[in-house]
Every structure is written in C-alpha cells, then in structure tokens.
Symmetry: C2
Subunit: 189 residues, 2 copies
C-alpha cells in the first residue's frame, strides 16, 4: 500500500462512528460502521478490540467540541449566572437544528442500558463534568444549595434535550425561562 496512516484511519473511523451512532443509534453493526467510515473490518480490529470500544472512543473524541460549544472559553469574564444561562441558550440553539437528536451522551446511556458499558462510562463522565461546571458556578454565585441546583439544572438540560431531539418539544426559550426560575429560587445572584 502507498500510505498506511493509522492516525488518520482512527480519526476517520471515530468521526464516522460518532455521526452514525448519533443519527441511527448505538445498535448499528460493525459492517455498516466500517462501510460508512470507508475502513476495513480488519483495520478496525487492529485499532480497537470491539465495537463497544469504538463507540466509547467516538464519544470521548467528541467531548471537547461538545463542551466548547456549550461553555465557550470567551465567556470566562461573565458572571456565574450568565455562564449558566448561556449553557441553556446554546442548548436551545443546537436543538433548533434539523439534525438535532438530543444530547449524544444521554442518548448513549438510554440506549445502552448498562452503566458498565465502556461507552456508558464515557457518557457518564461527560454528564458528571457538566454537572460539576454548573455546581461550581452555582457556588460562586451564592446559591443556597449548589449541588441541588446543579442536579435540577441537569434534569432540565437532559429532559429538554431528549424531548427536543425526539421532536415532542420545541424549546423556544423554555429552558432559559425554567433555569432562571430555579436560579432565582436558589437565591443565586
């Protein structure tokens, strides 16, 4: 072969996997995955021990971009309250896109139904990271019970993203309004 670039094969496989699992669900088979990625099964199994590992790695690969979209660095100067509300503004913007299918991490957890699956571990970590971001901002902003507020906000985030992804809700300000009510009730500036 003229070129054998393992890094780019890995990237191509994970990008295709991320998109395909998001669009079609985690039950997509190895055949369809490799066909879409333009990667042979042999190449896939040289890089990963199983489809489960591909799924886990594709979710991990997507995480920095996912977090940057919801929590931009540029907002570090904003108040804790603004930073929390910004997450919901970004969620609503993302949910308005025609390809939106909800949060990929919650979807993976719902579909896999197995907290010990390697991809569930990645997804659970993504969710825990986001909750910790909200909890830390709630604490900075003087919320009475930062952990409770963060749990409430995660419930709103996940419920809204699942419902919007399933096309049974059009957010249109719903999560920003709801988060504002919860921030106010928590006594947060």
């Amino acid at each position: 072969m003229a070129t054998t670039d393992k890094t780019s094969t890995r990237d191509r496989l994970l990008d295709a996997a991320g998109e395909l699992f998001y669009r079609e669900g985690v039950s997509i088979g190895v055949e369809a995955l490799c066909r879409t990625a333009g990667v042979s099964k042999r190449s896939m199994y040289q890089l990963f021990t199983s489809k489960d590992e591909v799924l886990a790695a594709s979710l991990a690969r997507r995480l920095p971009a996912y977090e940057a979209q919801l929590v931009p660095d540029a907002l570090e100067a904003a108040t804790p309250r603004e930073r929390i509300l910004h997450v919901f503004e970004r969620l609503e913007k993302a949910a308005a896109e025609s390809a939106y299918q909800g949060c990929p991490y919650l979807a993976a957890l719902v579909e896999l139904k197995d907290p010990e699956h390697p991809a569930s571990v990645v997804a659970g970590g993504a969710k825990a990271g986001m909750k910790e971001f909200l909890r830390a901002r709630a604490e900075e902003g003087g919320a009475r019970d930062p952990d409770l507020l963060a749990r409430q906000l995660m419930v709103v985030f996940d419920g809204a993203s699942a419902r919007a992804g399933a096309r049974i809700e059009t957010l249109d300000g719903l999560t920003v309004t709801t988060a504002t009510t919860l921030l106010d009730a928590a006594g947060m500036n």
Copy 2:
C-alpha cells in the same frame, strides 16, 4: 392443535415484548423476541405485519397501567397541586426500583430516532396525554401560564426519569422539590 387461542398468544407476545424492549432496547430482533415470548415467528406474523407493529402494540398495551400508576383515580378528590405533585412522588418511587430504566415512552422515542415510526407515534401520544393531564391541573389550580408550566413539568419528568434510569441520578425528592418551585413560581395554589 388442541387449543389455538389467538388472544392469549397476542397477550403473551406483547407482554414479553414490552418487558424485553424495556430491558434491552428496541433493537432486539424478532428471533429473541419470539423465543422469550414462547411464540413462533409464524404466529407473530399472523398477528402483526412487522416487529415495528409489535413494539407499537406493546407500548400501547402498557399505557393504561402506566397512567394508572402515575395518576390514580382515587386521587380525584385531591387538589390540582396535590395531583401534580403526586405524579412526581410516584415517579420517584418507581425510579427507586432496581429494574427501573426510565420512562418506556421516552426511551422508545430516544432509541427509535424516527417520529414517524409506529411506536414513536404511540410514545408521543403517551407523552402528550401526560402533558395534557398536567396542563389541565395547572389551569384548574390557577397557574399563570398552564401550558408553560406543563412543558416545564414534562421536562423535569423526562430528564429525571432518563437520568435515574441511566443510574446517573438518585432522585430522592429532587423532582418533588423542583416541581414545587415551578408550581410556586407559576402562582399556582
């Protein structure tokens, strides 16, 4: 054959399907489904045109029991506020069971990723029925914007059930506390 009871074959198939799809996900194949139900594929295809129709019918069959669990008739004498909070108390009770995997209707919608799938139509109807129950109670209780409040409560219900089902949240009063805050903010008695 000694007995050919189509009704009981149908019931057995749908009960097994409902349990299996809930526990393992909607991607379970026809082989596993028929094996678990103790029904031949031939019998299945005499009753239903496709696995999709079995899934839709199993969700529809489960709906009356699901609704009765969350919204008992016996509570008709309670206030609208009590009836709303009772839904969340029941959700928390259900979510504490070890076999809990979240709301079966939301899970089907998340997994199928197709609002036009016959099972998505059933699931969407279940969700719309619950939202209408909450909206009607919100209106009776004098909420400022009954539709907004019902949408907020559905987001809390679905977010909490998905997170508890995925084992990334232990509700422990979380949804009752959150619903109370939202009812108060909506000016509901």
